[in-house]
Symmetry: C2
Subunit: 324 residues, 2 copies
């Protein structure tokens, strides 16, 4: 399979991307071929730095433009048609590659993916899924801020997208679907939550485990946590900050007792780079989006995830599941 | 002033209430008189245990019934008219006491307060405020789950209620009002957040500091955080659980290095009993609600808060502010 990697996405592009690509080729299955999309001179420079100018299964595809955080996402396609994001996605659309990985601006990657790849039939609002570390395995939060003011039926679509993703890419058997809510009973919550509860419960294609309260999320009671993007985004951003906040308090408190307290397991659990990027779910293709501050390991892991999505026929499975 | 204390509210009633009351009388201003409402025999028993049978400024007012967690809140007034909650609130309504403190079921205390004390003119939905520990001073979260599907104008009412509370009871000069949202710009968020932003910004009676994202909440950028009760409740419950989760990870990690790591400052910061209960804001009276699992210190602190609300004429100030 061939995967296009936007080489110009991270804050330290293309150094991070090149290193991540080389690690992926070295460490992952050898049916993976990578196409680095971006400034050929800069990419070659980085390859040389690694003594990797003639790496098998790695090619370069030129793109002269680069999307910045200041570019309005909706204008990228028109204003930067030769950007690494647009060029990479067009390679995917044309069938030259099977997936696209980018650490560029989430909004731009999402908008361009929607336009170039198009939503799958039956999907009103494609959604970027984000992993949420828990006591058990990570939970896929859908939606995490891409879509607000969602209708109950759209939340049910998220549940199906998440179900296929967890089954195909993570290998979870019968993924458990939970609904973020403010009480356990079906009658709890706002109007949207109550109506969504009914729809999820009636849906025989889903393993719905019920309402999940804020206090229960970290127990890992579900594999896919369905939420409107407003509350999902608040929760996700708060999680990132509260972990750092508590760790900071702990470090201060322990400063007199222990030199550099060994908090590795905590730090590792909360390290997003372990999770391999956020999948854009519901488009006719595989797009994996990484943080702009990603280290090479995160790029490598995103490539691993993209490969698994391709290998499992995720897009075909989603199309079959949603187009009912 | 006289404050009625529901003596039958906590899980360990009336032992905890009696101890909290004695601490309050001992430690707080001596213009406070307490009326313990509940089973006189049980209350006297507890007073005797403390050798405090003849405590000045403490009287007992009998109530033969007790509200349990199983009683539907809406039926308490009708089914348990002689419960400590209803009796205490009626003392307040009649002007025999100036405030009411209870650690009974939040739903029941709230429903009975609404019915007996009535909402203030201009307040559509009274709201239970909850304190949120931050790096700076605690933030008052309004709403924390009492009211979902709120209209923008109702969120603005919360802002005013919170403003008066923070100014009168906490002595905060020009309390900063923030709106929980998923981005900083005015155009971010769902429809409700966008419209609320406009209303808050136009309101000359409020010191509105703008949108607060999930990641910024813990920096303490505002004194009052306005939110619909759905997202507010998810955030609050998540906060309680994530702190325990991270502390648990830290303890496990440090177990080999330090015996019982000294995490006092963290534990203290997250100890709700410091905050003295949650005020029910927007009714024509002072109701302070404590956790059912409150220790005596939390009861004492709730009495302190109630006294400050009375002393500052909080209800009159809210009435003046809202009835515009």
């Amino acid at each position: 399979m061939r995967i296009a990697l936007d080489a110009m996405g991270t804050d330290a592009a293309p150094a991070v991307e090149v290193e991540g690509a080389l690690r992926a080729l070295n460490e992952l299955e050898d049916d993976i071929e990578l196409v680095l999309v971006g400034d050929p001179d800069r990419i070659r420079e980085e390859l040389e730095r690694h003594g990797a100018s003639d790496t098998p299964r790695l090619t370069i595809h030129p793109a002269t433009q680069r999307v910045s955080a200041d570019d309005p996402p909706a204008s990228v396609l028109r204003k930067k048609p030769d950007s690494s994001i647009v060029v990479g996605l067009k390679l995917h659309k044309a069938g030259d590659v099977d997936a696209f990985v980018s650490a560029g601006s989430t909004g731009a990657v999402m908008a361009a993916s929607l336009f170039v790849l198009r939503p799958l039939p039956g999907v009103e609002r494609p959604s970027v899924g984000t992993f949420f570390p828990t006591r058990r395995s990570p939970t896929l939060l859908l939606d995490a801020g891409t879509n607000v003011d969602c209708k109950p039926r759209q939340l049910v679509q998220f549940a199906h997208l998440g179900r296929v993703y967890m089954a195909d890419v993570l290998g979870v058997e019968s993924p458990r679907i939970g609904l973020l809510n403010i009480g356990e009973e079906p009658t709890k919550g706002d109007e949207r939550a109550q109506e969504t509860f009914s729809l999820l419960q009636e849906d025989e294609g889903l393993h719905f485990v019920g309402n999940i309260e804020g206090r229960d999320v970290l127990e890992g009671p579900c594999d896919v946590l369905v939420a409107d993007g407003f509350v999902g985004n608040v929760l996700l951003k708060f999680y990132e900050s509260v972990a750092q906040f508590i760790l900071g308090l702990v470090r201060d408190e322990l400063a007199d007792t222990v030199d550099s307290p060994p908090l590795d397991s905590v730090t590792r659990l909360l390290d997003y780079s372990e999770y391999g990027g956020a999948p854009l779910l519901g488009v006719n293709g595989v797009t994996i989006i990484c943080h702009g501050g990603s280290p090479p390991k995160a790029i490598r892991n995103a490539i691993r995830v993209a490969a698994q999505a391709v290998r499992s026929d995720m897009v075909a499975d989603m199309a079959a599941e949603l187009d009912a």
